[in-house]
């Protein structure tokens, strides 16, 4: 491809707008991980004994496990004793209103384009804001409470609604599930909790915004969403982090429970700091997300736009236990510069006539390596189960890579699974056509890429769809030229 040489440093700087650090007075735990640190986290959160017990069981189990090596990514070993497991912006005792949120934090969120002020009704989205290890504010709580919806930070939920949290915590992602899930279960510091009671359609979109601010820390949050019979919720999550030379670990767990006829739509725009053009720094995003369709005719839909992180390792899955339940996964994953992504989904069909749809769009540019890894499993009980998988990869530049590793396991003759995939570069013909009409190459590429991802973007709530398109264009800057 032709074009003037571009200043890489300038580009790297330009393309990540959220790389600033806010100077917050932060309460830090000492570095390292042991039972005392876990005890300290639990004490700081004023947790009940059952939760501390659970954390310690997870920690002891984690000690017996070794870091997974099967994923198609390369990174230097992580020193788990060199991480600060708890970092919280210092706050006043018990906030009574949002006005009491630290102005610095509010300024930080304003800068990120997220208003915590409830007055801004226009946005119409309830937000739980998580900075480093703790939730700093949750908006619209009163209005949600009127509808019977509980939406609060995880710590608050443990204190106020233990009867809702306890039966579901670890019921979808057990602490034995994998190395990072075990680590998270031992040290998770906060996150969001959402409960939608029977028959309620949540009156607004719920959202959690995750921000890593402090240096040397890891973020380990946990989200639990429980939706009862016939209820519905749409949930969004976004994330950013400052630009640093070090790699920071983010190991979250998300559990969704959908009961009979319930619907959960979970959308993520992941924009953690991806590292610079030479691959220095960036977040290691090692996340376990899983939904359980426990009731008949329930539905869980994951939509993700992954543009950030130095390394992404996540497989949001759905366990389709209820008869006629539905699982969906829509994903756009972009790996530019030296980013690596190994992402996909797991659809486990257990119930009768369960259906799943997977649409994955992967874009690799620069030295980026992108892997789709997906499991479709249909058990002996999954009579009449259906799956359709479509996964496409787009390559931009000769040094990037796109890999597809689907696993299809079928044990019932009436089950049907289909998988289609293609890998190609941006079409020369399309580029030529656009340039002929006076559209510069970079813009044309961006248009083509956006078209390539449209199938996924249309699944996002409107505000997110706009944001996702913009993010993709910005992340691709410098990849062409």
């Amino acid at each position: 491809m032709s074009g003037a040489p571009l200043d890489l440093e300038e580009l790297a700087g330009r393309s990540y707008a959220y790389g600033f650090v806010t100077d917050l007075d932060t309460d830090l735990a000492p570095k390292g991980l042991n039972e005392e640190v876990i005890g300290m986290i639990s004490a700081k959160k004023e947790e009940p004994d059952w939760l501390l017990d659970w954390r310690l069981r997870a920690y002891r189990h984690w000690r017996t496990m070794s870091e997974p090596v099967w994923q198609n990514v390369r990174f230097d070993p992580i020193d788990y004793d060199d991480i600060i497991y708890y970092a919280a912006p210092k706050t006043k005792e018990a906030l009574s209103s949002l006005d009491e949120v630290d102005p610095e934090i509010r300024a930080m969120f304003d800068k990120l384009g997220i208003s915590l002020a409830e007055q801004e009704r226009l946005s119409g989205v309830a937000i739980d804001a998580v900075v480093d290890s703790v939730s700093v504010a949750t908006t619209f709580q009163a209005k949600l409470a009127e509808a019977g919806v509980v939406f609060c930070s995880f710590s608050e939920a443990v204190r106020r609604y233990p009867e809702l949290v306890r039966p579901h915590l670890g019921s979808v992602v057990s602490y034995r599930d994998n190395f990072f899930a075990a680590l998270n279960s031992a040290v998770f510091t906060d996150g969001s909790f959402c409960y939608v009671p029977k028959g309620v359609r949540c009156p607004m979109e719920l959202s959690t915004y995750f921000r890593i601010n402090a240096a040397g820390t890891g973020q380990f949050e946990r989200t639990l969403i429980v939706v009862e019979d016939g209820a519905e919720v749409s949930y969004l999550e976004g994330c950013t982090a400052p630009m640093r030379d070090e790699n920071q670990l983010h190991a979250a767990v998300v559990e969704l429970v959908a009961m009979e006829g319930a619907k959960i739509k979970y959308s993520t725009v992941q924009n953690w700091y991806p590292g610079d053009a030479e691959g220095r720094g960036g977040i290691y995003n090692f996340v376990t997300k899983r939904g359980l369709c426990t009731g008949a005719r329930s539905k869980i839909s994951w939509t993700q736009v992954e543009t950030g992180s130095a390394i992404t390792w996540k497989y949001p899955g759905v366990v389709l236990k209820g008869d006629e339940s539905v699982g969906e996964f829509y994903s756009v994953a972009l790996s530019a510069n030296h980013q690596q992504a190994d992402t996909g989904t797991k659809m486990i069909h257990i119930g009768r006539d369960t259906k799943s749809t997977i649409v994955s769009k992967a874009i690799s540019a620069g030295h980026g390596q992108n892997t789709y890894r997906g499991l479709v499993k249909m058990l002996r009980s999954a009579e009449g189960a259906r799956n359709h998988t479509r996964c496409d990869s787009l390559l931009i530049g000769p040094d990037c890579g796109a890999h597809t590793f689907p696993y299809i396991e079928v044990k019932h003759p009436t089950a049907r699974a289909e998988h289609e995939a293609s890998t190609s570069k941006v079409s020369e013909d399309q580029l030529f056509y656009a340039r002929q009409r006076g559209i510069p190459e970079e813009e044309a590429t961006s248009m083509i890429v956006n078209g390539f991802c449209r199938e996924v973007f249309k699944e996002l709530p409107m505000e997110f769809a706009v944001e996702a398109q913009r993010l993709l264009s910005v992340s691709l800057e410098g990849a062409v030229g």
Binding site: P406, Y407, E409, H419, S422, T423
Partner: protein, 450 residues
């Protein structure tokens, strides 16, 4: 690796090395060195377990749990008539028979189809009398798994075929591997090398058959080297006995503008794994890999396929189809790697499986790994049962259910079988498929006596 499996592996290693010294008297130094390095590789890496991604679905434990004896003489000496009964009539060219891993001059028939420029010999003979060419083409010391290394360590015989430049072998060259078992747990390790020099053409048919009863383990390796512009059509029929374990590798090294087609058909064995590994090392090579596998009864058929595109402008196409009956288990493990140098690659991979019973099981893993942008690569996989609408259509026209099903199954298999050369090769394929599907349940059981 769990300690139990590790222990078994260890016992297995000891057992094997006890029965097979690395060096054999009278062998050239290069071969002894190759054997030693294969044994070293094996003791270093051990046997795979289900934790190895490539062995995720294929259960080796029953194989490792049996104390097979390598390189044992067959307990029953089959006669030419027995061979004719299982292998059918000649395909019109030379027929080379390898009995329990050793070339059998008695059973082989090389009176037909040998012309100028076609050199056919037993591998042991070639090791003894041949030139230095074999040493270069024996193998590159890269093993994909323990059994691959085990073959390199243990193999003493097989077939060597060399085609001189611009030679065309008119009739198909047939290699029949016959494994005879009689409760003595033979481990047979045939190895064959096929070298097609520049511009030569040949059709080669490798057939694996079983005789007798009881467990046996065939661990075979065939290496095909194609020089520039060579064209080889390779067929591989696996119809081993109902209790046989079968592990095999066909390794292909494709030179510039060469063409290689591999067509495999698996109906036999209790657990069978046939690996095809192809490296496209020079520009414009073309590869076609087709497979049809029909696990029934308790059979498991695993089909690992690895294609490495290492040079510009090469093409590869794969079509694997499985028909799974009873409690059969069909596995497809396709893997295409397009290296950074392989610009202008075209790579396609398709796997389709038909499930005919509620105890049938299918695992498929069509993988693509691509390291450059100038490519067109696709893959597709589908798993399902017979189309109910099509069945209804046929029945509404008075075709009995059983016949309608047979027609649809035949139609499904035809995509692969229609690629087989018409004439005796296709005839052999039809005969194997026909008797397998008619058998109702269980593996294809060759009749020893007519």
């Amino acid at each position: 690796m769990t300690s139990q499996v590790a222990e078994r592996t260890w016992q297995h290693n000891v057992h094997l090395s006890g029965g097979a010294p690395a060096e054999r008297p009278g062998e050239p130094a290069w071969l002894s060195a190759a054997r030693r390095s294969a044994f070293d590789w094996l003791s270093q890496h051990g046997f795979p377990t289900r934790k190895d991604e490539d062995w995720r679905y294929f259960d080796l434990a029953p194989v490792l749990g049996l104390a097979f004896s390598p390189n044992r003489e067959p307990s029953i000496e089959p006669r030419a008539a027995d061979l004719g009964a299982v292998a059918g009539p000649s395909l019109g060219g030379p027929r080379l028979v390898v009995l329990n891993g050793r070339y059998s001059p008695l059973l082989s028939d090389v009176t037909l189809g040998l012309g100028d420029g076609l050199h056919v010999a037993s591998l042991a003979g070639e090791i003894r009398d041949g030139g230095p060419g074999l040493a270069q083409r024996w193998g590159d010391g890269a093993y994909s798994h323990a059994f691959d290394a085990l073959n390199a360590a243990l193999a003493v015989d097989g077939v060597y075929i060399e085609l001189a430049p611009q030679t065309t072998a008119d009739a198909a060259i047939e290699i029949v591997y016959l494994t005879v078992a009689a409760g003595d747990l033979p481990l047979v390790s045939p190895r064959s090398v096929i070298f097609a020099q520049a511009g030569s053409r040949a059709t080669i048919v490798e057939t694996h058959l079983g005789l007798g009863h009881g467990h046996s383990l065939t661990n075979s390796h065939t290496r095909v080297v194609l020089a520039a512009g060579a064209h080889v059509e390779h067929y591989r029929f696996q119809a081993e006995g109902p209790e046989a374990s079968h592990l095999s590798v066909v390794e292909v090294h494709a030179g510039e503008a060469s063409r290689f087609a591999s067509r495999t058909l698996a109906v036999g064995g209790l657990r069978a794994r046939h690996e095809v590994r192809a490296r496209l090392v020079a520009p414009s090579a073309e590869l076609r890999l087709d497979g049809l596998y029909l696990p029934a009864g308790e059979q498991c058929h695993d089909n690992p396929v690895l294609v490495e595109h290492l040079a510009p402008g090469c093409t590869s196409r794969q079509l694997y189809k499985g028909i799974v009956k009873d409690a059969g288990h069909g596995i497809f493990n396709g893997h295409v790697i397009v290296g950074a140098a392989a610009v202008g690659t075209e790579a396609h991979q398709t796997n389709k499986t038909l499930l005919l019973s509620d105890r049938a099981e299918v695992d498929t893993r069509p993988r693509l790994e691509i390291f450059t942008d100038e490519v067109a690569a696709t893959h597709g996989a589908a798993v399902g049962q017979l189309d109910q609408d099509a069945l209804f259509y046929l029945r509404s026209r008075g075709i009995p259910d059983r016949d309608a099903q047979a027609m649809l199954v035949a139609g499904f298999a035809a995509d692969v079988l229609d690629g087989f050369a018409p004439g005796p090769v296709r005839g052999l394929a039809d005969r194997l498929v026909g008797s397998h599907l008619e058998a109702g349940s269980g593996a294809y059981q060759p009749e020893v006596k007519r």
